[in-house]
Amino acid sequence: VAVAGAGRIGALLADEHRTHVATLDSSGVARVVRLADGKEVYASDVLQQTSPGPAPAVLTVLTAMAVPAQSRYFSAATSDGRVMLKKMDFTVTFQGSGRVVTPDVTPPVFLEVDPGYRPLGAFAAQVDEDGGATAAAILATGRLAVVRRAVELNEMTGETAEALSRAEIDVPGRVTAMVLDPAQRNLYAGTEGGDLLWWPLDGGRPGELKVAGAGAPVTALNLLLGGKSLAVGQGNGALSVWFAVRQTDDTQRLERIHEFPRQPGAVREIAPSQRDKSFLAVAGRQLGLYYSTADRTLWTGPAPLAGSTALFYTPKADGAYLAGGGQNGGQIAELDIHNPHPEVTLKSLFGKVWYEGYDQPAWVWQSSGASNDLEPKLSLVPLMAGTLKGTFYSLLLAIPLGVFGAMYTSQFMHPVYKRYLKPVIEIMASLPSVVLGFLAGLWLAPRIERAMPALLLGLAVLPLLVLLAGFLWNALPRAFRGRFPLGTEAILFVGVLALGVWLCMGLSRGFERLAFAGDFKAWLLGATSLGFDQRNAVVVGLAMGFAVIPIIFAIAEDAFSNVPQNLVAGSLALGANRWQTVTRVVLPTASPGIFSAVMIGFGRAVGETMIVLMATGNTPIMSWNPFNGFRTLSANIAVEIPEAPQGGSLYRTLFLAGLLLFVITFLLNTVAELVRQRLRERYSQL
């Protein structure tokens, strides 16, 4: 599109629906052009509408122009020492079925930066919704001046009061580019000497200057969505993203976080997206689209116009406009951008990424936040770690209980008991996980919190009690014992264990006083610096272990029972006792079956959703502390997918998590099934 009569276009922007473009050229004319037919629907000379103090000696022109980051304003510096801000928005009305877009403009606002009315160098300006504005510019003397117009609304009268403040300071080096964040609290500048300068602003007053060396001369500077990340383009073609990082001495410093491949020429323009952390950059004759968080070059190609002077990334991030062309400029090229999931890369899913506001690269899952300029953090690593943690603690309980219980049932128990035991285990398997999760989260968790010492005590006391009970049972006369079927003692142990649990609960306080100085949680924090959450991995381990036990039990019991009788009989005939037969003959023979039982139990624990959802705090943190919560892949899906818009990055990432779960369980189950089939064949040969 050629804009008739326009000189060098220094700034441009477009409406949300990409029907109109607004341009500002160096002669000071703001135009709005309808893209459909190239017709000019609005034009106004911003410089004519003003009357600066003393009449300018020379013809005033705009020396530099920009669209402040994340705003719908034109800003420009004039050759008579002022900074101009003009609102350039669009309103959309609906007439019938059609959409009518009209420019929504206000007269320009001028801030006098140089009282001497000399031309300005590099500048930056920002304006907020109430009209409070800040302008910073390099004066002809090389000093930096910051002017702030504070607007205060009187709540009672509804009147507004304006207050102007001005500050002037020295600047090290010649500033070539400058940018202000949307909150007007930070001013960044790049110098010819390759330094990045950063002043915090307090009510328009620059604070302590911090300098970071970037190497080559800074040629382009802009802030990405959120106003924290600074995209820096340099004369040697270097393109990078910087943000403030807390140092060890608790001060903040700018650091180069993300780096992109060297560009073919000096970076001329950088335009941020208003949707995500991607940005466009023109360097030499190359136009590129980059995504900051994932260090990702999404696309590069030749710029459609030579000599680009302004670049704009459309509000819906579906296109871009580039101004430039020829000697005089005045041309605009339109680009369509289809950039659906820039934040998802292998690195952002599985690698450590340095996010805004973090001290170092990290694995983080945080898919949504309070404001929409949040940087989505979609690392699956903490979720996978959480899944493994939950699985580990539940298998810690389930494997011994399941396998040894099954071994006892099949090898040391009379079939009479087995007939009743199997249904009990099946009932155990059928208990809905939502009930287990409920019990774990609301009943068990608060009690564990109070009686953690009892649990630890139980680990030692319960086996001892069982041994004691077994010894006593053995001491009974053989004639008496012989009246009961084999394995009766295990039924007795149920009562013994119940007694033991009661005993441990009673001794809990005393044990806590003795071993943990009266307060387990304080002791834990002091001795190991581990925190204690109420809904933690121990609770999950118990509940999920309970859910996995019957699965392991059933398959292991099958494997034990199907060991051919002739092997057992042979071993016993050779003089081995029952225990020796079981450990030396039955166990090795059945071990593949036990392996597959564990695999299937593992698969169940990995995919279990409700228990984890209800019994942990669902905090996606990575730590192996058994007294912390965690979040698993499956619970994460259940929590987030109702909120994820269909087809979006989060939706797809969650489906990837689902695929991951599927693949893990698929592999585990296939291996287990193959092993079981092999085992069956072997049994039939024995």
């Binding site: 399941g402 040894f404 219980g405 006892y408 035991l421 249904p423 009990v424 099946e426 009932i427 155990m428 208990l431 809905p432 996980s433 939502v434 009930v435 287990l436 409920f438 019990l439 989260g441 319960l462 086996p463 069982v466 041994l467 077994g470 053995n474 003692e489 295990a490 039924i491 007795l492 142990f493 149920v494 264990l497 119940a498 649990v501 306080r509 036990i549 006792n577 029952r578 225990w579 020796q580 299937i600 995919g607 959703t609 409700m610 959802l613 209800m614 899906i637 259940a638 997918i641 109702p642 489906f655 689902g658 779960l661 599927f662 369980t665 698929f666 585990l668 189950n669 296939t670 193959l674």
Partner: protein
């Protein structure tokens, strides 16, 4: 002199073996203990929810008085305290309070203490003071009010039922009649709230409420065992038959029961042909080779896939793809508001059908395999074709096995929550999926579910402490249903095994 392992005295190794055996037995016993403990815990808390406890009045040392039901007493060396359900949420703000034993000056069970179950704000504990009609006192004093309250309350409940009936009737269409109806409703509502009851809390604070908003009034301390049992029965009935009140935290869970049952039935319709036909093919028709082995592994694998993954499949395929297409073809007028393109009972049942199909296949295959060869061969020898043999001989003989599979699948479906959370459950469905309006069966509607009810009320409600007892009752009901189904399936399977155990020669 060092001894090698094998030369260990036999006695020691035997004792060691015996000790380790006991430990294994301990592991088994611990499993049993866990099952028993969980069932007992659920039964105790779930059944206790309906039991009317005595109202205890405590005079505290600081002069305050507290009236409520004692729910928990903690008495150890360090702590001596009790948890009281004090109700009166509109006065005190909290349903439960911990009272320290050392603060209590006197305990008593006052005869006049009344418990009111209300439509709003939960229970009220206090004494009756006055009964008013249009501002005028018509009875005062605990006994007089109690006597007058009974008949009046009954009348009010009838009026309330009538109002609900009229409201449900909806608009007739003609404006004149609608206006008359509205007028009548307004008059009835006025009349309904004409009589008010003034209650006194234990501290003596007065609270006035319309008689009609009381669901039930009881004097727990005057009730005998038999009367309490009647109250108990009434509450159980209300629990399973009434609609929820106060965003699920009170009242019954009928819609959740209905939703669960209906979803399970819909699922059975989908899963039965799928599972049984697959099993028939695998067992009777397919050549047992590599491919069938592969299919078996796949079926077993399907059983091991996490249920949440099925939920995602249901969401991605059934809801968005199938439902979205149905919306575009049949309900374009209501777009972009989805009709089938959002979670609903149909998609939930289909998702669960996929989840449970391996259960049916495995059980049905087992049932088919148990049919003795002799029976088949006999049929074939008599001239029946293969299809006739399968239809007339094999399937009837395998029916218990197939039924077992179906029951197991239904039990699994009844307890599954995770996939349903994303394909169609809601905490409070405005209408049942079946009603009197054509087409009577609304497959696109969202529904309530017992399992989700547990999750939602137990974890998402603002007043978890007050609702936990109700969740226990719901959990008990769910466990009962699931366990009963499983026991029936196990019994059927054992019967089947015994039946063919001898004849399989």
């Amino acid at each position: 002199m060092p001894r090698s392992r094998d030369m260990k005295p036999r006695g020691r190794s035997e004792a060691m073996g015996r000790a380790l055996t006991w430990l294994c037995g301990g592991a088994l016993a611990f499993n049993l203990l866990l099952v028993i403990a969980i069932l007992a815990l659920l039964a105790w808390n779930g059944l206790g929810y309906f039991w009317q406890r005595d109202l205890m009045e405590l005079d505290l040392r600081d002069g305050r008085k507290v009236l409520g039901e004692v729910w928990e007493v903690e008495k150890t060396a360090a702590v001596d305290r009790m948890r009281l359900k004090i109700g009166n949420r509109d006065v005190a703000g909290l349903d439960f309070a911990w009272i320290d034993g050392k603060d209590i000056a006197r305990r008593s069970l006052p005869r006049h203490a009344v418990m009111l179950e209300r439509l709003e704000w939960g229970n009220f504990y206090g004494t009756m003071a006055e009964l008013k009609r249009g501002g005028k006192v018509i009875a005062s004093g605990p006994d007089a009010v109690w006597k007058a309250f009974g008949p009046l309350h009954e009348k009010k409940r009838e009026e309330l039922a009538k109002i609900h009936e009229l409201e449900q009737g909806g608009m007739s269409g003609s404006p004149a009649e609608d206006e008359r109806l509205a007028d009548r409703l307004t008059r009835m509502r006025e009349q309904f709230s004409a009589e008010t009851l003034v209650m006194l809390t234990a501290d003596g604070e007065a609270k006035e409420m319309p008689v009609g908003t009381v669901v039930q009034a009881l004097k727990p301390n005057e009730l005998g065992w038999f009367a309490k049992l009647r109250v108990y029965g009434g509450r159980v009935w209300e629990f399973v038959s009434a609609d929820p009140r106060e965003s699920n935290t009170e009242g019954g869970i009928f819609p959740a029961i209905f939703g669960t049952v209906m979803m399970v039935f819909l699922m059975s319709f989908a899963v039965a042909p799928l599972g049984v036909l697959a099993a028939l093919y695998l067992r009777e028709y397919a050549r047992q080779g590599f491919l069938v082995r592969l299919v078996r592994i796949a079926v077993n694998n399907l059983a091991g896939v996490p249920s949440i993954v099925f939920g995602m499949f249901g969401l991605g395929f059934f809801v968005y793809v199938l439902g979205g297409s149905i919306d575009r073809v049949f309900f374009p007028e209501s777009l972009p508001a989805p009709t089938f393109g959002t979670g609903g009972i149909l998609w939930a049942s289909l998702t669960l059908a996929l989840l449970t199909v391996p259960v049916v296949i495995v059980a049905a295959e087992e049932g088919l395999a148990a049919v003795p060869r002799i029976v088949r061969e006999g049929s074939l020898a008599l001239g029946a074709t293969k299809f006739e043999t399968i239809r007339r001989v094999v399937i009837p003989a395998a029916a218990p096995g197939i039924l077992t599979g179906m029951i197991l699948a239904m039990a699994r479906a009844a307890g599954e929550v995770a996939p349903l959370m994303i394909v169609g459950m809601v905490k409070l469905a405005p209408a049942l999926p079946v009603d009197g309006r054509p087409p009577f069966l609304h497959l696109e509607r969202k529904f309530m579910h017992l399992g989700f009810h547990i999750y939602d009320v137990g974890f998402q409600s603002p007043n978890v402490e007050a609702t936990t007892p109700l969740v226990f009752a719901t959990a008990l009901l769910l466990i009962l249903v699931v366990t009963l189904m499983n026991l029936v399936a196990i019994a059927l399977r054992n019967h089947l095994r015994r039946k063919y155990a001898g004849s399989a020669v």
